[in-house]
Amino acid sequence: MNGAHDMGGQQDMGPVEYEKDEPVFHAPWEGRIYALRRAMRAWGKWNLDADRHEIELLPPADYLRMSYYERWVDRLAAQVVKYGLVSREEIESGKAAPGSTKSNPALTLATSARWLSRGIPSSQDPKVRPRFKVRQRVRARNINPTGHTRLPRYVRGKAGVIVRDHGVYLFPDSNAHSQGEKRQHVYSVRFAATELWGEVASPRDSVHLDLWDDYLERA
């Protein structure tokens, strides 16, 4: 989705605002929503890609206006209704519906350490063949998916060189929408800064992106 979240190369966003000795959370509610959103994912109703996409579904003006964790508050309330864990009426009243069954938390204190250390699925599965090789020249495809994608706009149509094969990962564009894992290779692709931005860029500089097979074509 060509949303507000796809920020690489946008201009006039202002100076970076640096905060000295910044705390991990600026207020208790930030910590609570951070933990709530992570704990609720343990129900397995939505995966990490769907979780990221949910943030992207905020209307662009809201995305830009809200603070980072304010987005999380908005999205978690939407997610629990969308995936049927909480009814709209319960969100509206702030109370569990009379007579509704009480669940056992998917994530408990006893399981939280294991959940925290759980890995993101990936593998070196030899059955999944890479379509490209290290040092091969490739082009990022000029595609504009309307759903979730991890192919930023600023590299689409640009040529680069594969510098590393990271192995096999789930394909976010399909996995976010429960349309299959479509396991495929992910590569580190080096794009010359001048290829991306033209002559204003330093001829020495480069940007590396980690891109899935389906994002690339031969150049």
Binding site: H26, W29, L36, M40, I91, L116, I120, S122, P152, S202
Partner: protein, 225 residues
């Protein structure tokens, strides 16, 4: 009505009215957010969907167990132990785990090394990807629109804002964390630290240096904390 719309009516996800100072949203917290999160948490607890003790544990981990001190220890070890540095660059997750740091979002960590003619800078233009086990949660500026938009198109401008003027003959490599790989910059060991212990060296290494927006400096020569 959409789910989000319904929730908005309940005040759980309501948009703020006009006139609020948005640029300071993370510092002057609208009390309304405190109430919305309390309301959401109490509903989820009442329905048995979350365990408050597990939430406390998650928060405690991010506030006290992970953070840039972990990364600093990794960097200092790499500076004093060439064999460790070799393992770190070849297989960062295993080398980082040697020091006991194994929590999530770090299983696909890559270490990129700075040198006299190469400077690395980390960003996530699409969201907020960051190597949690070694650096903790990212600071607000790292997740902000100014940094995410500009790090890829004007990295030298970003570095100047952080007080670092790189000579033209230094190559800048920007790493945009678009997949599940997470990046940690291995900064250059500053001159004049030859006699320092590993522990003293670790105390010099800052979060900013491991993201690539600062160099590691000796306390007497200034620099960002």
């Amino acid at each position: 009505m959409t789910a989000a719309g319904a929730a908005a009516n309940a005040g759980l996800v309501s948009a703020q009215g006009p006139g609020q100072d948005r640029t300071q949203a993370h510092q002057t917290v609208p009390s309304d957010l405190t109430l919305r999160v309390k309301s959401l948490e109490s509903l989820l607890v009442e329905k048995g969907l979350v365990d408050p003790a597990a939430l406390d544990a998650l928060i405690d981990t991010m506030e006290h167990k992970v953070g840039p001190r972990n990364g600093a220890r990794v960097v200092a070890r790499a500076w004093v132990d060439p064999a460790y540095k070799k393992r770190l660059v070849e297989n960062a997750p295993a080398a980082i785990a040697e020091l006991g740091y194994t929590s999530g979002q770090g299983e696909h960590t890559l270490v990129v090394e700075n040198g006299p003619k190469v400077h690395n800078l980390i960003v996530c233009t699409l969201c907020s990807c960051y190597p949690w086990p070694v650096l903790g949660l990212p600071p607000v500026w790292y997740k902000s629109a100014p940094y995410r938009s500009r790090a890829v198109i004007d990295p030298r401008g970003i570095l100047r804002e952080f007080g670092m003027q790189l000579p033209e003959d230094v190559e800048v490599r920007v790493w945009d964390s678009t997949a599940e790989l997470r990046y940690l910059v291995l900064p250059e060991r500053p001159a004049g630290t030859e006699t320092m212990s590993e522990e003293q060296l670790a105390a010099l290494v800052t979060r900013d240096a491991m993201v690539g927006v600062a160099k590691v400096t000796l306390p007497t020569s200034g620099g960002n904390a």
